[in-house]
């Protein structure tokens, strides 16, 4: 019993990963757009589980809060508003499928290219690398919300602020588009 539980606990990442893949496969394969959104939701929750099994509680919870609770709700909203009939849905999906395969392959290639060091290189012993003066008095493994905030607001402040400016640009763009359409 003890041994079984320990084995399950050690392989939690793999379990959640396989579950997330299943959710993603369901998302791609299902005929109804709302079912796809449900598959997406399941995949997002399982990815949060992956983060949790890596002891990155903050990222896992942010994943649930932002993706499962915010973005997927918006997707669902849009899917329900832009309700397509079953037939047009099928046609659109068939039209897209061969491009989708190409895009997925290209995306996978880019992903492996960017993360090849992480995937094939030696495992990094540190959970999160902060500048030593920032990590002072902080147990990174236990307080990863604090560690992430120190990283964001001290080490990577400029990229973080630039990212938020990009989001602001997107927001302003959305407002402009909505306004011009109405006139």
């Amino acid at each position: 019993m003890e041994h079984l539980i320990e084995t399950i606990g050690r392989n939690m990442f793999a379990i959640f990963g396989v579950m997330a893949l299943c959710g993603a496969a369901f998302m791609v394969a299902s005929r109804s757009a709302v079912h796809s959104v449900l598959g997406f939701l399941f995949a997002m929750l399982c990815i949060a589980g992956c983060f949790l099994s890596l002891e990155a509680e903050f990222l896992g919870m942010a994943q649930i809060l932002v993706y499962a609770g915010g973005i997927v709700v918006l997707f669902l909203f849009v899917v329900m508003l832009v309700e397509m009939s079953k037939k047009t849905e099928k046609e659109v999906f068939q039209l897209q499928s061969r491009y989708a395969v190409l895009v997925v392959l290209a995306g996978a290639a880019v992903f492996v290219g960017v993360f090849r060091k992480v995937i094939f290189g030696a495992a990094s012993p540190d959970a999160l690398v902060l500048r030593p003066e920032l990590a002072k008095g902080l147990n990174v493994a236990q307080q990863n919300a604090q560690a992430v905030s120190r990283g964001l607001f001290a080490d990577y402040l400029l990229p973080f602020e630039i990212l938020s400016v990009i989001l602001l640009v997107a927001l302003v763009g959305a407002v402009v588009l909505a306004k011009t359409e109405r006139v």
Binding site: G69, L76, Q143, A145
Partner: protein, 388 residues
Amino acid sequence: MPTPTLTQSIVITLIQCLLVVIFVFVVVPLTVFAERKVLGHLQQRLGSTRVASGHVGITGWMNRGMWKWGRIPVLSYWRGIPGLVADVLKLILKEDILPAKADKFVFFIAPALSMVAAVVVFAAVSFVPGVFFTFPAWFPFVGGLPVSGGIADINVGLLWILGVASVGVYGIVLAGWASNSKYPLLGGLRSAAQMVSYEVPLAMSLLAPVVLSASLNFGEMSARMATGLPFWGLVPQILGFLIYLTCGFAETNRLPFDMPEAENELVAGFHTEYSGMKFGFFYLAEYINMTVVAALASGFFLGGPWLLPFGLQGLVNPYIPAALSWFAEPHAIFFVVKIIFILFTYIWVRGTIPRYRYDQVMSVAWKYLIPMALFNLLLAAVVRCFAV
């Protein structure tokens, strides 16, 4: 104190889950009953009295006696309690109807999603700091082991609560969509918009306690909010509590913000097509969500397991004499009493304030509550900067 093995700790966690579920399933039916009674008295009637055992046995004798003695209906308040059992039986035994063109899978999963999202939030709620009780030595398998006052002591507990609670909106939206009917769809869409927009001020009003207590752990937050704040911490706490409570009413779809149901506009909103225990799940989820909001309000603003709300406990504690030290310590009973008080407030408000119009609901969220929550956050930051 012995340390539990892995299996033992899992068993203890399961027992804690069972205790929380029992707590919820005791509180929820009593809230339903209290709602009937309190609403009745707010509207100058007696509330539910028909399904009663008040005519027979010792309670009937006491009831009649009190009435004869001075027209005092004190004990007859409890008449109607057997109606709860009748209600539950009705929900379980009723025919489970599936609309002809409904999406079967989604129709089935929607009530489950609502229910699960409502119950799972309690994982991060800590009822009392430290050890709640210790199993007696004769207890099989886990004898002599301590049980902590919360199921999971997560160091990002607040994010867990907000995240899981935000998953609850799927239940309502999917139920509205899967029913394949106009009114439920309208109710579902309304509620999606309402719940997503009220999540923003709700999360912002909870940021003030985060700033004041410098933690995301439920237990740590409630301890610091209750005992570790200076006098000026009162202001952001009281303002934050009012904002939080308003948003909580909207998040749980209660009057005055019950847009998803709004029975005179939408029949019964998203659960129009549901019957039997599937409807029962939505009904339960609504009341469990109310309990969750009450638990969070009492944990973050009303001092949690300490006696006094709004951080007054920390100010008063040095002056409490040693003989009364029981009142200076945290007890689970204080926490539960505060939860019950806020549940009563829910019913009180329901009987007092009429429903808002839909556009008013949205403008309250975006034009008033969000700026107020931001201002409150600023206040909390100022207090944190200069007074802590």
